[in-house]
């Protein structure tokens, strides 16, 4: 097979290395244009981000997003110091029903399905939630505090990080549904 004739427009460069010669051919225009385009993009990007600061940096964008999330959380949050509101929730089946679902999946392990805990079975882990004796305070806001922050020394976990504020408040409403507002409360001295 004879080697095909080289078209005259194809040039070879002068240098030779180990008998290897180099063509001097033009790169495709589309290839050159992507290179020039990338250079222009770099200049525009550098100007917009570094020189003019027209686009906020990644850090401030993250901060702004975190502020938006915090604002939404605040807008949807419940006033957990409002005892009257907790009592009202505890009389509303929408809250107590979803509170019971959470209780039945998580709290029952220690406080038993009856909420009576040690009051029903002395070998149970958690204390009775139905009697009027409270260890860490019996007002709704104190109960909420106990459930949300936990009593780590006794083994009661902090549930708000797991459940979020809404579900925690629902569980408190479910517990309060077994109590009446203004009932006598005795606070045990914690051991």
């Amino acid at each position: 097979m004879k080697p095909p004739a080289r078209p005259p427009e194809i040039k070879l460069r002068d240098h030779v290395y180990d008998g290897i010669r180099e063509f001097d051919q033009r790169l495709p225009n589309w290839w050159l244009n992507t290179l020039y385009g990338a250079i222009i993009f770099w200049i525009v990007y550098w100007f917009v981000h570094v020189i003019a600061g027209m686009v906020p940096g990644d850090g401030s964008q993250v901060d702004a997003a975190m502020r938006r999330i915090a604002a939404i959380k605040m807008a949807n949050s419940i006033d957990v110091t409002d005892d009257a509101k907790f009592w009202a929730m505890s009389r509303n089946a929408v809250f107590t029903d979803s509170g019971r679902q959470t209780y039945d999946s998580l709290c029952v392990a220690c406080h038993l399905p009856s909420l009576k805990g040690k009051g029903e079975n002395p070998t149970a882990v958690g204390p009775n939630l139905i009697d009027n004796a409270w260890i860490y305070g019996g007002t709704p806001r104190e109960v909420y505090h106990t459930v949300s922050q936990g009593v780590l020394a006794k083994g009661m976990p902090a549930w708000e990080p797991v459940l979020g504020q809404k579900k925690t408040a629902e569980v408190v409403a479910y517990i309060l549904a077994h109590h009446t507002e203004g009932e006598p409360v005795t606070v045990e001295i914690s051991k």
Binding site: M1, P4, P7, L27, W31, C110, L152, G155, V162
Partner: protein, 490 residues
């Protein structure tokens, strides 16, 4: 084949092995107009391409277990493949999927060269069997297309151009919409399509940018992708050898090429001319603009158009077909192709090892999974009567049907009881639950920390998972001393 033989129009340059036919000396792109070709490979490629396009178009529509056959639900972190569902935590299996494809491609390339490029690559499938078909339908055959390109603007030319590019854009939009459906499912896609673009601006932008890229690629860029961009094409030379199947020209039989002598088309005894009649058909039909008679070149995508073109001519001049054929370089040189050689054996072993590892990896994917985590707070609690450990058990159902799971603690020493998980937990499809598991051991039975096993069972034994967990506690002797001081009887 000297240029003086026949005057050529500027859009047809005889290919050379020293430069790319599709790039002019000034760097501009030379559009090719490959001639029509008929033959067995052309037909088979068309059927297989229609089959592949059909698979691509239909997969998102076929429901299997309530989900599309292939549904990469990125938003839900669930990946459905023909009823097999992978969760986000199974994404490591992708390694075996990708490396397996790589090994398979290595093996196939060593044996059959660029079979993938010519027959199965989406670039070739869509270009040859969708876009070039549209072009052929609107603009006519290769000479008509060349004439139309050279013709001055006229109402007829403008309307043809508008029709062709409108169809190109329509095809590109269809392909990209279907592509999006693989990630959001057809009903979701349909609701996106009917809603305002700003409702789903990211998807909208993706579809239209991708459609724009496809349109540019298939309307103008075409063979440049295979020649300059595709890494697989560039990797070929490292994967093939003289015994790999390629499309080649039998120079021994064909040379010296020459026009048929008038007297007889059959080669006579002592005839000096070879079988190649130098009709240039193989060059005219080539979609990447090469002359296959120059030997194996990186531009060749193995589409077999030149085989069909040459066979057709050989039949007409009553010479045997196969002057251009699927063969190895060794075979074209008159030798014998060796299929069994170090390269194919090594690639084959790599493929088998990869397949075995992938099979094992996929067999470890269970329809459910679970984790046992210690609850927040202290690692253990020492009460008046007992030592206590508290765990949260997270159950994950990876199937598309609800499942009842029984959780038990096994291998417990005497005196240990646990609460939670008295009844099976029902986990909704593709959902997860978190429930506490509390273990208590009587102080008098406590002999120090121990390990036990949490077992999760369901679906009549089809699901059986276990995990070893440590029960933590103080040194047993410290507890004994403490009891002694408090006067607790042991």
């Amino acid at each position: 084949m000297s240029p003086s033989q026949k005057p050529r129009s500027s859009s047809r340059r005889s290919p050379s092995i020293d430069s790319v036919t599709t790039i002019n000396a000034d760097g501009s792109h030379r559009a090719l107009h490959p001639a029509d070709v008929h033959g067995r490979f052309t037909s088979w490629r068309r059927y297989s391409a229609y089959g592949l396009i059909g698979v691509y178009l239909l997969l998102p529509w076929i429901p299997i277990d309530g989900y599309p056959a292939v549904f990469l639900d990125v938003a839900g972190s669930r990946f459905h493949f023909f009823g097999f569902t992978l969760a986000a935590q199974d994404v490591w299996l992708l390694f075996f999927g990708v490396s397996g494809l790589g090994f398979a491609l290595f093996f196939l390339t060593a044996l059959f060269g660029r079979l993938w490029c010519g027959w199965a690559c989406p670039q070739t499938v869509f270009l040859d069997h969708v876009y070039r078909r549209i072009e052929r339908w609107i603009d006519g055959d290769a000479p008509s297309r060349r004439l139309l390109t050279a013709a001055p603007l006229s109402a007829g030319k403008i309307s043809r151009r508008i029709a062709k590019h409108a169809l190109y854009i329509l095809a590109s939009l269809l392909i990209t919409h279907l592509f999006l459906a693989y990630f959001v499912s057809i009903p979701q896609l349909w609701s996106y399509v009917r809603e305002a673009p700003r409702e789903h601006w990211a998807s909208f932008l993706f579809v239209f940018v991708a459609a724009g890229v496809l349109y540019f690629n298939f309307a103008w860029f075409r063979e440049q992708l295979c020649i300059v961009i595709c890494p697989y094409g560039r990797l070929q030379s490292a994967l093939t050898d003289d015994h790999s199947l390629v499309i080649g020209y039998d120079a021994t039989r064909g040379e010296p090429r020459g026009k048929i002598q008038q007297a007889s088309s059959l080669p006579q005894a002592g005839d000096k001319t070879g079988d190649c009649v130098d009709c240039n058909r193989c060059v005219q039909v080539c979609p990447t603009g090469i002359d296959i008679r120059h030997g194996l070149q990186l531009e060749c995508i193995g589409c077999a158009a030149c085989i069909d073109a040459c066979d057709e001519i050989m039949a007409k001049v009553k010479r045997p077909p196969g002057l251009v054929r699927y063969d190895s370089l060794a075979g074209l040189d008159g030798g014998v192709t060796r299929w069994l050689r170090a390269r194919t054996v090594v690639y084959g072993i790599l493929l088998l090892v990869g397949a075995a590892a992938a099979t094992f990896a996929f067999s470890t994917v269970k329809p459910a999974s679970f984790t046992v985590l210690r609850m927040s707070g202290a690692a253990y609690f020492v009460g008046a009567d007992e030592v206590r450990n508290q765990f949260l058990v997270r159950l994950v159902n990876k199937r598309t049907a609800p499942v009842g799971l029984t959780v038990t603690a096994q291998g417990l020493p005497a005196g240990v009881r646990h609460t939670g998980f008295d009844a099976p937990v029902v986990v909704a499809p593709l959902a997860e639950t978190v429930s506490p598991l509390v273990l208590l051991i009587d102080r008098r039975d406590y002999r120090g920390p121990f390990r036990f096993t949490v077992k999760v069972e369901g679906r009549e034994g089809k699901i059986a998972l276990k995990r070893e967990v440590e029960f933590m506690g103080p040194d047993a002797r410290l507890l004994e001393e403490d009891d002694h001081e408090k006067g607790i009887k042991r």
